[in-house]
Structures are given as C-alpha cells and as structure tokens.
Symmetry: C2
Subunit: 466 residues, 2 copies
C-alpha cells in the first residue's frame, strides 16, 4: 500500500470533539474500528487511514453544528458519501471526524418544467434515476459506480456520457454548502445561467470537501430520449479506433457515449461476460435522439468508421441487447481484475486533447510492456480521457515500484501532451504530486483560496493541496 502519509494529529482537540459528538448524536455517532475503516479509503492501493469517529448527519443544520464543534477544537472533518472515490479522498491522514451524508438521501424537489431537481447529497445516481423515470426524466452523469450525488459533485465526476452531456461542472446548477465556520450558503439561484458574481458553484464542484461540505445539490436533468441505440465496432488498431473518435468529434456527431476498449480489455470482457467480440480494439457507442435522428447518427458513424477500417459494426435499439453490451462495459473493471487473481487494480485517468489520444494510448500500452506490467485500457474516448489500470501483485515490491513508475510516467506524459493527470477522479491524496507539474503557479492561487476559506485547514486536510 502506498501514497499516503500521516499528518500531525491534534489529540486534545480530537478527544474533546469525540466527547461532545457522542453526547449530541448518541447512536448516530460511532468510534467502532470496523465502521471507521469502512469510512476511510478502500478502493485502490492507497492505504486506509480511518477517522477517529463517524457521525451520520440528517440535515444541513446538523452538519453546521458538527463543523462548529470541530472548528472550535481544530479537528479535521472528512465528508463521506458512498465511499467510491479512487484517490484517497475519504482518508483521515490527521484523524478527525467523518461526516457520513448517506442518510441525507431525499429528492427534495423535481421541477419537470425546468428540467431540474434539488437533492440531498446522499442520494445516489441510480436512486435518483429510479425516482425520475416515471416523469420521463434522467440525470445523465454516469461514473460507473453508484456514487452519491454529493460525492460526484465534490470530485467533478463524469464518466461514459460526458461526451454528450458534460461533467458535473455542467450539470450542477447550485449547491448548498456548510463552510469552515459553520455558515450555510447557497452558491447560485435556480436560473439556467447567471453572471451574478464569482462562480462559487463551479468552485465547490471539484473542491473535494476541502472548501465546504455539500449539503444540497440542484441538478440539471434531461428528458429520456425518444430513441436510444447502442452499437459496437471493431478496429485493426488502437490508432484506427482513436482516429475514428476524432473524426466523430470533428464531424459534430452528437454521440451519447463512445468508449474505447483495448484488445486486453476485450479479451477480459469476453471471458468475464461470456461474449464473443472480435479480440481487437473496440468502440462501444450509444446514440440518443428522435427515431430518425438515431437512425441517421448510426449511419453516419458507420460511414466514418469504415474510413478507418472499422468492422463488425452492429447497432441495436433492443433494450435487452443494449443492456447486455453496457453491462459488459460496466463490468470491465471486474473483468480486468479477473485477468490476474489476487491483483489490485491501480486506477489512472489522464485526459488529453482528442488529437493526442491515439498517441497517448499507444504510448501507455508500450510503456506497460516495457515495464513488464499488465495495464488494460478503457477510455471515455470522446473526451480524450482513458483509464490504464495496472494490475499489481501488491506483495511484489519490485512490481509495485514499476507500477508507481508507470503511473508517474503516464501522468507526466499526459501533461506534456497538453492534457491533465485527472479527467474525472480528482486529485485527492494520490495525485497531489502532479498538480503543480500540471498547473504551476495556479496552485498557489488555489492555496490562497483554501487559506481564505478554511484558515485552520480543518476541511478534509491533506487532499488536493500538500
């Protein structure tokens, strides 16, 4: 286990806060070892750093009360949603209190006429979509995991259909947040656009719990499209697949999803999901629109793919077949893990300008080979975002070192290509070494904002900034 150092603990403050919280929250406050470990990082190779206590909040006012108690004693506060983040965001390197927001799981308001809704942060994206379905609406952001809306907001999440619908940055209209002094603010009105002062909404989106605790989110919604079709197309090489993606984006074809699976992932998926896809690089697609529009998009894609040697192109509007195809994509993580029993997957999520995608993916494949690593690639190709997941035997120190080398090389390569070390997972603990390499002096500006809004560094310390 790697990549997380402990920070100095304020033992007296923590002890005082634990006492007060126990008294005020009774059964809803826990210091049990198991629950504390569950509330720290569990998903990747980053070590588990449990908080000292976990409190289950039921309202913004309660969150404010907790923050005020912790602020008075200078105790760290770590917000927790579904625990699906990948870069150590929920770890407690200096100890402190985890605020579990999962019980704040109400959909507060749906304004169908305005295509928006207001939810508590603990609502998960699947729960929200189940809630919305009867009204013909859906919330499009799909990071794979059934993450909470609060957590998705905090990490600026995206996923498979960001190419069409954008990321959380584009789909959060406003947030309510508790700031480091306990004050509850709302960042924006419910208008679809605004020029009213600094864009605090976007500042909170992606702030990873370090500037405030998100207690409500107002989201843009979409109407469920009249027609949906899914398709797959095989390519002779990763370059050919990426060049097709570039052509699609340049054409302006409004694909809802365009996902790249490299040969290794296709093999993994065939084996895991009992499919018989040709074992070459593959694009998985989804089209949304009117019946005629989807038919036209499907045809245009076919013509573009043919130019780059695409074969076996098949589209389907059958809900059952679509589900099967996308289930395979969503199971790709497990399919990859099954390639190597007992290995841990090390997540990466660089994002490069589309024109550099082929170069970046090919280089990642080659670098993994050179280092003797297994690193299958899936990508949200339409955004230039891809995941090379290194499958590592954590008992092999040399292999762990090679994996670290790979991750570091990949992040720096993406930055050199004009891209970012993180397209959607966030900085957390794991990517801190790369933020300054990517943005230089802009990190000082971030630090100044953090210092201004959280002078005692009690909100999720040790994340984003060093």
């Amino acid at each position: 286990m790697v990549q997380a150092t402990a920070l100095e603990r304020n033992e007296d403050g923590i002890s005082a806060a634990l006492g007060i919280l126990k008294q005020q929250f009774g059964e809803r406050f826990s210091t049990g070892a198991a629950i504390r470990e569950q509330h720290a990082h569990t998903t990747t190779w980053i070590i588990n750093q449990p908080p000292d206590g976990v409190v289950f909040a039921h309202s913004a006012q309660e969150v404010s009360d907790i923050v005020k108690i912790c602020a008075a004693h200078q105790v760290p506060i770590i917000p927790f949603g579904a625990g699906t983040s990948l870069e150590g965001h929920v770890n407690a390197p200096a100890g402190g209190i985890s605020i579990d927001l999962s019980q704040m799981d109400k959909v507060l308001e749906v304004n169908a006429g305005d295509l928006d809704c207001r939810v508590q942060p603990g609502v998960t994206r699947m729960a929200l979509n189940t809630y919305l379905r009867d009204q013909g609406l859906f919330f499009p952001i799909d990071p794979g995991a059934d993450a909470s809306i609060g957590g998705m907001t905090a990490t600026r999440a995206s996923g498979t259909n960001a190419v069409r619908y954008g990321t959380m940055k584009d789909n959060v209209l406003s947030v309510q947040a508790v700031m480091a002094n306990g004050e509850i603010i709302r960042t924006s009105s419910r208008a679809r656009k605004s020029s009213a002062g600094y864009d605090l909404t976007r500042l909170m989106v992606g702030s990873e719990g370090t500037l405030g605790i998100i207690t409500e989110v107002t989201l843009r919604l979409q109407g469920i499209p009249e027609a949906t079709s899914a398709a797959s197309c095989s390519f002779p090489s990763v370059e050919a697949a990426c060049e097709t993606v570039m052509a699609v984006i340049q054409y302006g074809l409004p694909v809802a999803r365009i996902e790249l699976l490299d040969t290794l992932v296709v093999k993994a998926v065939n084996s895991y999901s009992k499919l018989s896809l040709p074992e070459t690089p593959l694009l998985l697609l989804e089209f949304h629109g009117t019946d005629a529009g989807v038919t036209e998009q499907t045809e245009i894609f076919g013509a573009l793919a043919e130019d780059f040697g695409g074969t076996g192109y098949q589209a389907t509007t059958s809900a059952e077949e679509r589900t099967k195809l996308w289930q395979a994509r969503h199971d790709a993580y497990w399919a990859m893990l099954a390639l190597r029993q007992g290995a841990k997957a090390v997540a990466t999520d660089v994002c490069v300008p589309i024109s550099k995608l082929a170069e970046a993916v090919v280089a990642a494949n080659e670098k993994a080979d050179e280092l003797g690593l297994i690193a299958p690639v899936v990508g949200h190709a339409g955004d230039g975002n891809f995941h090379a997941s290194v499958l590592v035997d954590m008992d092999d120190a040399d292999e762990v070192a090679r994996a670290e080398n790979f991750v570091s090389w990949l992040n720096e390569r993406a930055i050199a290509l004009g891209g970012t070390c993180t397209g959607e997972h966030g900085i957390g603990q794991g990517k801190r070494p790369y933020l300054e390499k990517e943005l230089g002096g802009a990190v000082d500006v971030m630090a100044a904002i953090k210092k201004a809004l959280d002078p005692d560094d009690i909100l999720n310390p040790g994340k984003i900034l060093s």
Copy 2:
C-alpha cells in the same frame, strides 16, 4: 446619470504610477481627456468615471509589468476590451490605470482536430469567426455587440445561442491571467475535461477583472453545421409564446436560438427594419444540424407551436432571408431607441427558471405600464433570460426615479421567482445592490476570495462587491 459613486483616490500613488508608465510606455500611454472618457462607461445611464491614464498593452509580460507598477503604488487597474459592457465594468470610481487590451488581438493557435483555439483577449468575436470560417469552424457565443473575447470571458457573457451552446462558462477551456501580484498563471490544461484541483477557469470567467487580468483565452469551437434554418412564429400573447418555449425545452428540441420579442419590439423592428411582421408577440428561431435533422426540428417546432396558437410559422434555409431576420433581431436595440427620440435605454437582464418566464415577462409589462414607462422586452427565452429595456428621458427626474423603481422591482421579482438579477451582463457597478439579496452569505465567501487574491483591492475596485 445614476448608480455609481466615487471611491477614495490614492493621489500620490496615482501620480507616481502615471510618471513611471509614461516613461516606460511612451506613445502607448495616454492621459488625454477624450481617450480617458472613451475608456470609461459609455453604454447606459451609469455615469462616466474616467481612469487617470490608459496604457495599450502588447503582451502578458507587459500586463504583468503594469500590474506590478500599480501594485507597488496601490493604484487601481481596470482592464478594457471593446467597452461594450453594460453595468459600469470599465469605470474608474477610484481613478487609476485602464489597461487597454484591444491591441492584443491575435489568434495564437487553432487546433481544428480538437475543436479549440487559443486567442489573445482583444480578439473580437466577429474577428474570430471571420478567421475561423475557412476551416469550417465557429465560436458560437453571440452577445449581440462585437465584444472582445477577454471581456466576454470576464463578464461570463452569453446571448442568442446559449440555449444550444452554453455561455462563456461552458466554452472557455482555460485562461492565462495576470494576478494582483503580477504573477502570470494558466488555470487549466487544454483537455476537454479535468478534475485537477479548484476550477480556477470558472472562477476567472465572470470575475469582471476583479481577480486577475485575462491575457489569453483557450476556447472550445464548433463545426459549422451542415444545415441551418431560421424561422419566425407569431403568438396571441406573451404567455402563449413562453409556454411554447417551455414545451420546446421540455421536449429536448435542440434549438440553436429561440428569441422572444414582445409586441412593442415587433412594432419597433417593423418600423426600423422595414419588415411586416404581425404585431403580436413573436418567437425567432434558428435550427442547426444535418439537412434531415433541421427539417425534423422545424417540423417538431411547428407542431408544438400550433398547440399554443402559433400562427404564420415560416422557416427558411436561405442565407439571405436568415440574415435579414437576424439582422432585425440584432437591430432591435436601435429599433427600440427609435421608438422614443432622445431617450436612453436602461438595460436589464434578469433570468428566471423557464417555468416562470411567462409570469415574469407579463409582470414586467404590467409594472412598466403601471409606472407609465416604455419598456419593450426581448428575451433569450430558452434560457429564461430577458431584457426589459426602459426608454428614459434622462432630463425628467421623476421618470428617472420611476425607471430606477422599475429596475429594482424587476431584479427583486426575478430573485423571488428563483432566478437571478443578471443572466449575462454581470454585476459591475449597477447590480451591486442586488447581489446580496440574491445570494446572501455567499457574498461573504466571494469577498473572502477577493481579499485573499487581491488584498489591496487594486483590481477593478468598486465592481461586483461593495
């Protein structure tokens, strides 16, 4: 003239800075009265507050040098692009130096494969689109005026086709900016999405020159659509037109433009642009897509409009007819002014949730009548954003007072309906009284950020925050 108070001047500092700038910039520095007045507010009823000197910068490094000189002497710096802002953004209430960026007007890079470009801040949107046309690309944001990209970024501008393409918030990938200490930062990589730390790009977009001076902008571009069609449709009432807009948005019809003109504006436009539109509320539309897609959109709109009593619906793909229709829309401001010789137009730009649009527009019409004011309404209806422009005889103190009453009432009404006092013009000087009414404690957070990034308040003082 109203709505701008002078702030305290630092005479010694200003005098020192003037001397140094004269020495360093020679011919490119001016203290002439005419040029100073041109570099202050000229577009609305807000008074003209000239800077003490104007310097024409040619590079980010020069901007940095100027900022350092002004910082050393605690002298205000006001960035200036095309001077088309409407809320006093370029005024110098405490005196100081206007940095004119209009000569930084180069398109630095176009990445056609990535649909992005990098430009200097003085490039105007029309110049950019002329530059891009041969490559089959365009930049969609159209605020009406031929504003500079830097200014549009700083005010989070939008305009007629934000309903399809978003606002500057959605179309700026990254900015280079000079901060209050003279440091030059870049806020983001060129990747289409990123979760790398705080969203400084969105923080700079809409910061109105109060957090940094924008010296480069990386923009998303669009491919020029295969087909474009324009259309107009008359309605029996403003409610009917607004209900049609709501139906269009709920349907998910991807209209590129959907503009509302109330009866008064239609009359003005008929007279000014020699048209013969039926003198009832009107929607002007534009559809972008494939040939088949545009045909389908045109038909769907027709069916929706019929449900609400739409008549005289006509669509055209003729470039000449489209230009004529949109020229009339763009001339609406002049057409309205011609309704009343010698009057000044007082701009407003509230934005409400779409479901409240009909209610808000009708109430604005009624309120204007009640106050004995002429206030024609045009609106970017698909966003819930509309302009009621009061035509005021500035020599009539009572009428000016009634106009102020109207503006104040309208802003507060929009806020009460869940909307914002400014959909696209920004806060500047004119809207400062409404920001706190709209966002309450969030304004304290904005002030803390301002204080952290510009502790001496030298960057465009007296704007956004009081």
